[in-house]
């Protein structure tokens, strides 16, 4: 068995072709450029307080940049991840090459996993290329290594789910245009709808905190709760932009001025993991020529049950404050 067989021919082919042309270079430049612009913007807003004679601690700037850059990366991941896979299956159908691939000895799961891993690899490349921008945070300080863990967890779980979701839409619609419409309509509904619901709930309940469950699936709320423990100052010893206000808007009910009430990013990651398995299974089902149960369904069901069992065992870590009991 050759190395190509091991890593999968589809993955190898995707990796070999994905960085051809100027599109990939342009994406890397725009991605890193946006991260830098965000960092400069947040630095400028915070540092402008120096003009008013307000002292700024380096850590304060570092935390503001970290929060701003992490939010931007999460937003870009949220919308870029599905885009990397939206045409992965549908394009094969549109070009009429899917049946040719099916004629090869490749299994459906090899095709799906190959395309998924290739998309994730590209997303990972983007993230790595943006990493040097985080040295700005180190220049100012204020962020501990332990603060990176929750942020990375949220970004990676969003990336995996986003890629799988794009792939699922692509497989279900078999047309890139329809897949794009379906994917982004659902995505915007998820992000905007949950925030809207939480804010409306709060408005009609005397501005009290909305139940955390309302925003538990919102990737931006999850990132907000992952970032909130960094706790930039909300007092007036020092001047500066107060990103906690922004984070609070994104996660009404789970963050307040005293800090994180419910760290929903844990539940979000757990839910995203389950959804990823479900969507991957759905993709496998969608690209089958006939709707019938096969052996891989049993495997996917076992993976899903195993995951649910693990999630149940670890419910003390992610469940408190979100779902009763």
């Amino acid at each position: 068995m050759t190395r190509r067989d091991l890593i999968g021919p589809v993955l190898f082919k995707e990796l070999a072709t994905q960085l051809r042309g100027s599109r990939a270079a342009l994406m890397i430049t725009v991605y890193v450029g946006l991260v830098l612009i965000t960092a400069r913007l947040f630095y400028g807003v915070t540092a402008s307080q120096l003009g008013f004679g307000r002292p700024l601690l380096g850590a304060q700037i570092g935390q503001v940049i970290f929060i701003g850059v992490s939010m931007v990366i999460q937003t870009m991941t949220l919308f870029l991840a599905p885009a990397t896979t939206l045409n992965a299956i549908s394009q094969e159908y549109e070009r009429g090459t899917f049946d040719l691939i099916r004629a090869t000895p490749l299994s459906l799961s090899q095709i799906v996993v190959g395309k998924l891993l290739a998309a994730l690899a590209f997303l990972l490349l983007l993230l790595i290329s943006a990493a040097p921008a985080f040295t700005l945070v180190l220049l100012f300080g204020g962020v501990a290594t332990a603060d990176l863990g929750p942020v990375l967890l949220v970004i990676l779980s969003t990336a995996v789910l986003g890629c799988t979701f794009g792939l699922f839409c692509s497989a279900v619609t078999r047309q890139t245009f329809n897949a794009t419409l379906l994917c982004y309509a659902l995505l915007i509904s998820l992000v905007g709808g949950t925030l809207f619901a939480a804010n409306i709930w709060s408005l009609i309940n005397g501005l009290s905190a909305a139940p955390a469950a309302l925003v538990v699936t919102n990737p931006l709320s999850a990132m907000a709760t992952a970032l909130a423990p960094i706790r930039p100052p909300d007092t007036s010893f020092t001047g500066g932009f107060r990103p906690l206000v922004l984070l609070n808007l994104l996660s009404r009910g789970v963050i307040d001025s005293s800090g994180v009430l419910v760290p929903i990013y844990r539940a979000t990651s757990v839910i995203y993991g389950g959804l990823t398995i479900l969507l991957a299974w759905g993709t496998l089902v969608a690209i089958r020529p006939r709707l019938r149960l096969i052996r891989s369904d049993g495997l996917m069901l076992a993976i899903l049950l195993g995951y649910v069992l693990l999630a149940l065992l670890a419910r003390g870590w992610w469940q408190p404050g979100i779902f009763p009991g």
Binding site: T29, G51, G53, Q60, I61, L125, S129, A131, L138, P232
Partner: protein, 775 residues
């Protein structure tokens, strides 16, 4: 090895396992604790309470911590102790009573576990007069009963010399201390220093006649109001006047000769008592024995004691009234800690330029290069390699260029008590983005407490939590993320720094400031008679002279005095678009704390302020990456020297609202006293050193906030020699020339009585110019 042998070994191990904890338990039980609170557990919330603890160790030597904890408190005072085997130690732990609680837990701990503990019952005394009776023998006063008073009831506690705290904070719960018949040498030097600092902060020390030799023998000069002479019969009229009842008849006592600044009650040849101010406090020296049987039998004795044993001052605080300026001063100083310094930022633009270059390199430049060599798939390898190597390079650069991410702000107020002694209070605030514990070196013997929470100039500051080691040179400051938290250190320390003297002669008023220390005295400001003279820096060993300009404006509120000291800095900060200078704001707050009460007490006298670079009570916080700011203000009272014929402009003979027994009022930056109710008696006084002045010319200037009534106002001045009021024709407002003023200025005091329709004048302001001869 057979089964039986194995069983024996197992049994042996089991027995050893059982015996080891038992031995540990015995050693724990070997340490016993007996603790008691000073003043029988009575205390004023917001003040300190000394806890005496006796620890006996019947076991092996052990290092323990004696701690005192209030219910619900996040911080506690602790004292590290080395206990030798079989040793018994007596320690005093000073506990900041920042809560109104009825019990306190005192414990002896080893390795964080309590091995002996005791709960002490306490009694908070809010808005009461805590009276300490320090006597060689049982002293009983006929004090008014609690139910007979409408406010400020007495809580009297008997004290012996051994009960007297060796730290001024230990006396802070007392508002009055009556000392009677205490043998000389009863109090140690530390106890006397504590007494001195307590009076300076606002305590009222009452000294019974007792043995005249004893008074001369042991009290510091600053705490003596009069020189006791031979035996004398004391006229009871002043007692009767104070009690508003017939007197107890003549009392046997001693003849008191008032010292400069001493105010005598009763006939000059044998006054009943003499009062003299020191700092914010008061010393009242009685000519008679307060425990005399005549007094005990006197029916009006409760009224007399209630009127005489008044706190020297009362300050409103969230805990209730307190007879010390400490709370207000600490709040002013703690609030100033929130004005954090500006920190220089790293060269961030250079960093952004490098990141832009990196972005171009990893994006278009790399793509063009790989296309040229037709190896575009190498991007999978080259992008991470370039990214990681650039990241490492920038990381190294960032570590080298990063700035402070913590701030330690420290301010220190050093108040000269005289005789080279100072009362020094240092407040330390720390701010960190992460929860952190800072190891801090402080001079051994300092008393430490967490700061009380206060909204300051730029935010809120609160106290640190955890154990605060007392009288240790190593303490830990534990702060939460982004919370400015701090501690207060207090200690009486000797200092050699600033010596100053004001010389008054026919040439005018001149000040001489000598720097005897080894630090530069910066921005020295001398304040006398509500006038400010800025002298600049005085280097070690240097002497500076200054003379006040004749036409310098007169200010009367401490805010105006501070305004004159920092006029240039405030003007610079007030320019359009100019940010406030936080260092100046801290300096203003510190000067406000130092000058607190200066506008309501003429007895305070002249004052010299100087900034020094290093506090004698400096906390060295181990935070190498922190931006540290430190400010120290030294205050001292210059000696006033005058001889021959002198002329004193306005400001020297100043209105004393406390002596006038009227509330103060302010209008147009002038401080006066309320005219209502009539008659209004205005007491004006000279600084203590000028009290022997014999006036040859006296001009009063009277004014009011409302229109001066054109008719119906009677102005009288008190003739001390003949003990009567003398009418003065005056159609004010304006100058009033007092003819033949000598009888009206006695012991540096004059009294002017305004009656009739003066009530319509609102707030009355009085200044005076005086010329005379110093004997």
């Amino acid at each position: 090895m057979n089964h039986r042998a194995l069983a024996r070994i197992a049994l042996l191990i089991a027995l050893l396992a059982i015996s080891l904890p038992a031995r540990a338990a015995r050693s724990q039980a070997g340490i016993s604790l007996t603790a008691s609170a000073a003043f029988d557990g009575n205390y004023v919330p917001g003040a300190w309470l000394p806890i005496s603890a006796s620890i006996e160790n019947a076991g092996p030597a052990a290092d323990v911590i004696v701690s005192a904890e209030l219910p619900g408190a996040t911080a506690r005072q602790a004292l590290p102790l080395e206990l030798a085997g079989g040793a018994q130690k007596q320690v005093v732990l000073y506990v900041a009573m920042d809560q109104s609680v009825r019990e306190m837990r005192v414990a002896v701990e080893r390795d964080g576990a309590a091995i002996a503990e005791q709960t002490i019952a306490l009694r908070p005394r809010v808005d009461e007069r805590m009276l300490g009776l320090l006597s060689g023998a049982e002293l009983s006063l006929a004090l008014p009963r609690r139910e007979d008073l409408t406010s400020q009831p007495f809580t009297a506690v008997q004290l012996t010399a051994a009960d007297m705290p060796a730290e001024a904070v230990g006396l802070s719960s007392l508002s009055i201390l009556l000392v009677q018949g205490l043998p000389p040498e009863s109090l140690s030097a530390a106890q006397l220093d504590a007494l001195l600092a307590w009076v300076q902060a606002g305590g009222h020390l009452v000294i019974g006649a007792g043995d005249a030799a004893a008074i001369n023998g042991w009290l510091p000069d600053q705490l003596i109001a009069a020189t006791p002479g031979g035996d004398a019969s004391i006229d009871a009229d002043p007692l009767a006047a104070l009690a508003a009842a017939p007197g107890p008849g003549a009392l046997q006592g001693v003849r008191l000769a008032p010292l400069p600044g001493g105010v005598a009650a009763g006939p000059a040849e044998a006054p009943a008592w003499v009062s003299r101010s020191f700092g914010h406090g008061l010393v009242t020296q009685l000519a008679f024995d307060p425990g005399a049987p005549e007094l005990s039998r006197w029916a009006a004795a409760p009224s007399f004691w209630s009127a005489l044993l008044q706190p020297a001052l009362l300050v409103g605080t969230p805990f209730g009234t307190q007879s010390s300026v400490d709370f207000v001063q600490e709040q002013l100083l703690a609030g100033a800690l929130t004005a954090l310094p500006s920190i220089p930022q790293p060269p961030v633009n250079l960093f952004f330029v490098l990141l832009v270059i990196y972005t171009l390199a990893i994006g278009p430049l790399l793509a063009l290069f790989l296309r040229r060599i037709d190896r575009q798939s190498w991007s999978w390898l080259l992008v991470p390699v370039i990214s990681i190597s650039s990241g490492l390079l920038l990381l190294t650069l960032a570590i080298g260029m990063r700035t402070s991410d913590q701030i330690v702000n420290q301010i220190s107020l050093v108040e000269d008590l005289g005789d080279g002694q100072t009362r020094t209070r240092t407040l330390v605030g720390a701010l960190s983005p992460q929860g952190q514990s800072f190891s801090t070196q402080v001079p051994a013997g300092a008393i430490t407490r967490p700061l009380r929470e206060i909204a300051g100039l730029y935010g809120t500051i609160s106290g640190v939590s955890g154990d605060l080691l007392q009288q240790s040179n190593q303490i830990t400051l534990s702060v939460e993320p982004w919370r400015l938290q701090g501690i207060l250190l207090e200690q009486q320390l000797p200092i050699e720094g600033l010596a100053s003297a004001i010389t008054i002669s026919d040439q005018g008023v001149q000040i001489e400031v000598t720097n005897r220390g080894n630090q530069i005295l910066r921005d020295v400001a001398a304040i006398y008679g509500s006038r400010v003279l800025l002298l600049g820096d005085v280097r070690p060993g240097e002497q500076l002279n200054g003379r006040w300009a004749a036409n310098q404006p007169l200010v009367s509120t401490s805010d105006d005095i501070i305004g004159q000291i920092f006029a240039d800095e405030v003007a610079a900060a007030n320019r359009p678009g100019q940010a406030a200078n936080r260092r100046t704001e801290i300096q203003v707050a510190m000067a406000s704390a130092a000058l607190y009460g200066a506008d309501t007490s003429a007895a305070a006298g002249p004052l010299v302020l100087a900034w020094i670079d290093r506090s004698p009570l400096e906390a060295q916080v181990d935070a190498p990456r922190a931006a540290q700011q430190s400010l120290t203000l030294l205050t001292t009272r210059p000696q006033v020297q005058a001889s021959g014929t002198i002329g004193l402009p306005e400001g020297w003979l100043a209105l004393d609202p406390a002596l006038s027994q009227r509330s103060t009022c302010t209008s147009d930056s002038q401080t006066g006293v309320r005219a209502n109710p009539a008659p209004a008696t205005l007491a004006m006084r000279l600084p203590d050193a000028l009290s022997p002045l014999q006036a040859d010319m006296l001009t009063l200037t009277l004014d009011s906030s409302e229109r001066w009534p054109s008719a119906g106002v009677t102005v009288e001045i008190y003739d001390w020699g003949q003990s009567k009021w003398v009418n003065l024709p005056f159609d004010g407002p304006g100058d009033l020339e007092v003819p033949s003023p000598r009888p009206y200025l006695a012991e540096g005091r004059i009294q002017v009585r305004l009656s009739g329709s003066i009530e319509r004048a609102g707030c009355i302001f009085a200044t005076a110019r005086v010329q005379g001869t110093m004997p």
